[in-house]
Amino acid sequence: MIFNSLPFLLFFTVVFFLYWFVGEKNVKVQNWILLLANCFFYGYASLKMLPVILIATLLFYYIGLKIEHAYDNPDSEQAEKTGSRWTTFGIVIGVGVLLYFKYFNFFIESFISLFSLFGLQSNWHTLHIIMPLGISFFTFRLLAYVLDVNHGKQHAETDFVRFAVYVSFFPCILSGPIDRPQFIKQLGKLRVFRFETAQDAVYQFLWGLFKKVVIADNCASYVDAAWNNIDGSDASTLCLAAFLYAFELYADFSGYSDMAIAVGKGLGLKITDNFRTPFFALNIADFWRRWHISLTQWMTDYVFMPLNLSFRKNGKAGIIMAIIINFLIVGMWHGDSWIFALYGLYHGLLFVPLILSGAFYQMPKIQVYEHLNLPKPKDFGRILLTFLLVTLGFILFRADSLTHFAQYLTSMCKMSLFTMPLVRSALTRTLLFTLIMIVVEWLLRDKPHPFAVQNHPLACRIIYIYVLIFCILEYAGDAQSFIYFQF
């Protein structure tokens, strides 16, 4: 049940009215409605896998309580030992579930290939494993919970309903953002309907929907055609398709995130941000502070930080090691293929010059000409360079294998690069809408979200809504699934 579908519209309408009318005065009723909605939403998508998420939720609820209980022991050494043991158990289960469902066959296939490389036969077989939807997202929520409880950053949740709502919150279960356990705190308070928040949610939802169906889905047609015929395409067409893929991925994933956040807002809940105009990043470190923020922050807190602290005596070499390992995991998080590991390694290596020069520690701010509201040439150059490096990485991300990547890259470096790219139907309007997206997000780059227009005059807001709905109905591309559902 995707956001841009009739079943979701019906589902959300029912949830919305029950939540605000039946649960208006009782926080417990609100939470129960959310839990039932989560179960229905997940069961509708994958009924067979509903028990997996339910059992995992029950188990981690219990582990959380055991960790907290362990620290009640007045003997601090014993308390730490027991708490750590339960935390390790939770990590093993969480990572184990993820490895089994997502990576088991990948490891078996990799071992078989490795053995055959040395002329050895192996009688290992892959298994027919169905991956539960959203597994990368809900396991990360569960892992963050046990780690935070162990570090004393979060109290173990005693109310099972609240905990289960956090793990399975339907707007975020299939594709994030990955909320942290602090989200649970909101579930302890009665949510009150606020018209301004709901209005803001509508603007953000429509903007997300516009990005998904008008930009991402239209870009997808051009991109897919180019990738399906690499040898028969001009270098200029492949080059244009590479740029369009960067915009497709962004519009698809940030569009989904905007819609998820808006749905959360509609229910009076704040979901963590996932994107902050990443294509205006000044370097690769800045890019990762703006792209898939909830994953980057998760990885920073639970992978990079412990590694960086462990390697602290090794100076810059230690930071480089921590970054490379961190990004290898970020890459592999996306899927069971070595190409994703390479994607992660590529980004990790892009950090090396920043670490060596010290730029890694700076939080750069774009220098603009105030009267023109345009970036200064030096920063414009940095934005452009970062965008080019990111786009190159996305070719790796989109390829099925290293050979596929090499084929695309070499086909892009031909004399036909200087010819006109192939103009397919809808290309002009795709480029125009992409340009509109860039301009709007540039103008609203300091706002809480990319379409925060609630302070604009009412007449303007009515026009925005009308234009967005018109474009969505009139110029939507062929319906495509959300790219990040596969992860």
């Binding site: 990079f304 602290l309 390697f311």
Partner: protein, 79 residues
Amino acid sequence: MNRTELLNRLQDIFRQELQDESITLTEETTAEDVNGWTSLTHAQLINNIEDQMNIHFSVREMMGWQNVGEIMDSIERKL
């Protein structure tokens, strides 16, 4: 070293490492309150504290700190 002296010592290390003389620490100060104290500079700060005070922290200990006061508690246990 009493608690105030320890806090002043930490403040000097923070000022030196983050190159900002305006930093003023209290026991309640968190990373959000200090400009430049980020997940990236944290390891360098800790390394500096360890070197100057000749102590060693475990990763678990460091991951649990919520504010400057908790760093001071860990240091006091080791001095």
